[in-house]
């Protein structure tokens, strides 16, 4: 009987391997293994044994979420692997087998940049003591993988995290995808963590809970550590230091969000406290221009997802662009009137960046129109329904009249900006410029000229209507009763300056106000207090409690004892980080690179402390004081200043404009992977170069231009110098 049972179990084991899912990949394309485990709804991560001698854990997920883990095999062959889920509470699923047939030729990994042998911590006296071991590098590297091995005869650490530093350990940041709890015994397998390009000059492992090992000692042990990486950073420059390393990491945190914790599989998914993370994109109307700017230059799954979302994006028959694919209203609440401009700006940018003719000519199933026709219809809505032909957008929706009885009218949904809104008109101005470029690309010279002329008229009207000479800044809106609403809206002024709507004297007055050189009577926040949070200016400088009926509190209260207290709410004295992008753009335009770098230095000094992963809580439990993490994918705009500000890379009808503005002490700056119209480029602006140079290196085209001058890179890879911009 015992033998029969034994054979039965052998049969089951064999059946288990027979039941393993089969996958195919090659050495250039990662395999994707799906997962969806539930461990009593506890948060969990997956540990994958790939069959090639390596293990790798996933980032933390919510129980039950369906997702994928990717792995690239170095050698062709057939591999038998398995994975299990491990919860934060210590539960573990059974192993699920899989097999992968890998084709192609053997690939070479990144070189080893640091390593060390066996290590044991000192004895700990409490389970919560932090013990760790670091690898210091001889400079900055784009990190690839950290490989850990088990010490012979010792336990592998069960609770640990991997951290990196851009200042040789002065401050450490967590690799969010490497936070391990109850980590299984890897045996003789290598445990591999991917950094995906994070820039750093030191890495460490830190134990987060120490329990007695098999020798009864409170120690952790490692057999060895090996770190691979490349000298070349994604954003690179001659002045290697925390600033350029931080800009890279800001992109990875808030742009690609590749190393962030997402409860869902996707990088645009929400995370959850205490694992607050950056997210990659939103994809809805008010984010389309930002998403296109952030993702258009990448060769990423996120860009494919955005394309799919925008391909049949819904518009009303009259051209009103819906807030999201499922509803025309913002948060099912009411219509917003920056949707159309953001849609136009985003689609035009995406088209110029990618050259995606199939997208722009795609006929939308819902509307029966091509995306090109939809963009034109969206503009017609602004011109005809909102009166834009007169050079000023006027909202006729009775719910968005800018009065106390109204609702919000744009992204800034705390304020009742409506009727004639400066923010919406600044975006309208931008959309006219986008349409002029698009029509020029489509051969519509006459239409392009009309849009350009209307843009010029809009700029004049904008200054005529919205400039407040008494305060020296732009107001928020003129409501339907003619009341001019000026509550010190920094974001309105920064958008306007970023788009070049102000003349230099006005720009100077605005920047003097923001910089605290000029105090405006009646303002709640003045002087250095406007940049109290350092990562950006307060959203408004007049406490909205002075006009409580002009605020949509979204279920909260404006009472100073409640959530709306000035400085305790992102839209009442708090900060939304993305505005720093417009701040930098504004300073570059009006103060030059020195002014922009001064602000950037301040932002990056804050980033160096904690990567801005700060969740300040107000006195009533709300954490919407600083809009950086979680539902603010637009935070990824800020590192884009490096791309379109310092490097000056902007796609247009003629090709890719390269108009660098290097800080005076930089000899060169580069973006080493930049996708333009289906090709990958490494673009360098070099102060020592006298002529542009293009050469091929594998699949990547290397472009070098002099650091001063304006150039156009055509879709054919040819580069020309331009005098006009």
């Amino acid at each position: 009987m015992r033998h029969i049972l034994a054979w039965f179990f052998v049969f089951l084991a064999g059946a288990g391997s027979l039941l393993a899912e089969e996958y195919a990949a090659d050495t250039q394309t990662p395999v994707r293994i799906p997962y969806a485990q539930d461990l009593h709804e506890e948060m969990l991560y997956y540990v994958f044994e790939w069959g090639d001698g390596t293990w790798s854990p996933s980032s933390l997920k919510r129980s039950g979420i369906q997702g994928f883990m990717e792995h690239r095999y170095a050698k062709p062959g057939r591999y038998e692997g398995r994975f299990c889920a491990v919860s934060i509470g210590g539960q573990r699923s059974d192993w699920t087998p899989f097999a992968v047939a890998v084709g192609g030729t053997e690939s070479v990994g990144k070189p080893v940049i640091a390593s060390r042998g066996a290590w044991s911590s000192g004895p700990a006296t409490n389970y919560w003591e932090r013990q760790g071991v670091a690898l210091e590098l001889d400079g900055y590297y784009a990190l690839d993988r950290l490989v850990l091995t088990k010490a012979p005869g010792k336990d592998f650490p069960s609770h640990f995290q991997i951290e990196y530093s851009i200042n040789r350990g002065e401050t450490w940041q967590k690799l969010n995808t490497a936070r391990c709890f109850f980590f299984p015994d890897p045996g003789n397998q290598q445990v591999v963590f991917s950094f995906n390009g994070i820039a750093a000059n030191a890495v460490r492992l830190v134990a987060t809970r120490i329990t007695p090992d098999s020798d009864g000692e409170m120690r952790i042990h490692l057999g060895g550590m090996e770190l691979t990486g490349a000298k070349e950073l994604l954003f690179d420059c001659s002045q290697r230091g925390p600033l350029i390393a931080g800009l890279n990491n800001m992109w990875y945190a808030y742009g690609s969000a590749v190393n962030e914790v997402h409860l869902d599989y996707v990088t645009w998914g929400q995370s959850k406290r205490p694992f607050e993370s950056g997210v990659s994109y939103m994809g809805n109307a008010e984010w389309i221009a930002w998403d296109a700017l952030e993702m258009g230059w990448t060769h990423s799954r996120e860009l494919e997802e955005l394309r799919a979302k925008w391909l049949d994006y819904p518009l009303d028959p009259d051209g009103y662009v819906w807030a999201c694919p499922g509803d025309p209203r913002h948060l099912f609440h009411n219509r917003h009137y920056d949707n159309n401009a953001c849609y136009i700006n985003g689609i035009v940018h995406y088209y110029f960046q990618t050259g995606d003719d199939a997208f722009i000519q795609h006929r939308c199933a819902a509307t029966g129109k091509t995306n090109l026709e939809k963009v034109r219809l969206a503009m017609r809505y602004q011109l005809e329904q909102l009166g834009g032909t007169n050079g000023v957008l006027t909202i006729t929706d009775p719910e968005v009249q800018g009065t106390p009885a109204s609702k919000s009218g744009n992204y800034w949904d705390y304020y009742k900006l409506g009727y004639q809104s400066a923010f919406d008109n600044a975006e309208f101005y931008r959309s006219l410029q986008s349409m002029a470029r698009l029509e020029r690309a489509m051969g519509g010279t006459e239409q392009a000229a009309e849009y350009a002329a209307l843009a010029a008229e809009t700029k004049d009207k904008f200054n005529e209507l919205f400039w407040n000479d008494a305060t020296g800044r732009y107001i928020g809106c003129i409501d339907a009763n003619g009341v001019r609403r000026d509550y010190g809206f920094t974001f309105v002024n920064l958008h306007a300056l970023g788009y070049g709507l102000a003349d230099p004297p006005r720009a100077r007055r605005i920047l003097d106000w923001l910089d605290g050189k000029r105090v405006i009577a009646g303002d709640t926040s003045t002087g250095p207090d406007i940049y109290h949070f350092k990562l950006g200016p307060r959203s408004n400088t007049i406490d909205m409690a002075k006009v409580p009926d002009w605020v949509e509190t979204w279920g909260g209260e404006l009472d100073p004892a409640r959530q709306g207290k000035y400085g305790m709410q992102i839209q009442n004295g708090g900060v939304i980080f993305y505005t720093s992008y417009y701040d930098l753009e504004a300073r570059l335009r009006y103060q030059g690179i020195d002014g922009a770098m001064k602000r950037l230095d301040g932002i990056m000094a804050e980033f160096e402390k904690d990567e801005l992963r700060r969740i300040d809580s107000n006195h009533v439990g709300h954490t919407l004081i600083l809009g950086v993490l979680l539902c603010f994918p637009e935070s990824g705009l800020v590192p884009m200043f490096y791309v379109d500000g310092i490097m000056g890379l902007r796609p247009g009808a003629e090709g890719l404009w390269i108009n660098p503005s290097l800080p005076r002490d930089w000899e060169w700056a580069a973006v080493n992977s930049y996708w333009f119209q289906g090709k990958e480029y490494a673009i360098c602006a070099d102060a020592t170069a006298t002529l542009p140079l293009v050469r091929q290196e594998g699949d990547r085209t290397l472009v070098t231009v002099p650091a001063i001058g304006r150039y156009i890179l055509g879709a054919d890879g040819q580069i020309t110098k331009k005098e006009d911009f």
Partner: protein, 234 residues
């Protein structure tokens, strides 16, 4: 019936945890405030509590601690600390808390409410050292009841130690939570889209720890503060 389900589910969770391949002899999740930046991500203030500081070495212990500042008033008798942690099944919670010796005399009581990932509120017994001096209002399955509580000692650590489900009073449906903090930043948790097994049950995700004073307390309208140097979930 719902109560019975919750009690059974938590008892089952405790059993499940004991069956785990790496059964925890120490807490599965904790905060000893060793890394203030990490701690900052989990803690928030609410009601009379208005600010948090992370002390690197408390003079009394030489250990790091969380200092919670509060200002009680006639209309705000609870200083609540919100602690968000990863979704976890749990069977015990433990905290070391202290009312500083140099605060004015006045009784301070401690109790706790938790939310699971469904938004259900779960009420725990107040701190009790065997010498109850006060009855704190607690929700029970029959409604609001008074539960015996002891004041926290001044100037020395008190250990609040509760087990589940014995110290669990009641669960309420979402929307009726005792502390209706809806954090807009968290947005939709999307639970309905998950591939959860039929017997799956909500995990815990947040504690609300309340320091409470009576409405005649000498601590009203004064700047007061409390310390926590260890919180543990088993």
């Amino acid at each position: 019936m719902r109560m019975l389900f919750i009690v059974m589910a938590l008892a089952s969770a405790a059993f499940g945890a004991a069956q785990a391949k790496d059964a925890p002899a120490v807490p599965v999740w904790f905060d000893a405030f060793q890394a203030p930046l990490e701690s900052r991500a989990g803690w928030q203030t609410f009601q009379a509590a208005y600010a948090l500081e992370f002390v690197s070495a408390l003079p009394e212990t030489g250990r790091p601690a969380l200092k919670a500042k509060a200002r009680f008033s006639k209309t705000n008798l609870s200083a609540v600390l919100i602690w968000r942690f990863p979704d976890l099944q749990m069977h015990r919670f433990r905290a070391r808390i202290m009312v500083p010796a140099n605060l004015p005399a006045g009784d301070v009581f401690f109790q706790m409410v938790a939310n699971n990932t469904q938004g259900d509120a779960l009420f725990f017994k107040p701190y009790l050292d065997g010498k109850p001096t006060y009855d704190l209002p607690c929700q029970t399955i029959e409604g609001l009841k008074q539960q015996p509580a002891s004041p926290l000692p001044h100037g020395k650590w008190a250990v609040y130690d509760v087990g589940l489900p014995g110290s669990l009073f009641f669960e309420q449906k979402k929307g009726k939570a005792a502390h209706p903090v809806q954090d807009m930043a968290l947005m939709n948790t999307g639970r309905d889209a998950l591939n959860l097994s039929a017997e799956s049950r909500p995990a815990m995700e947040v504690f609300f720890m309340s320091f409470q004073v009576p409405d005649n307390s000498p601590l009203l309208d004064k700047e007061v503060w409390f310390y926590i140097d260890l919180v543990e979930i088993y």
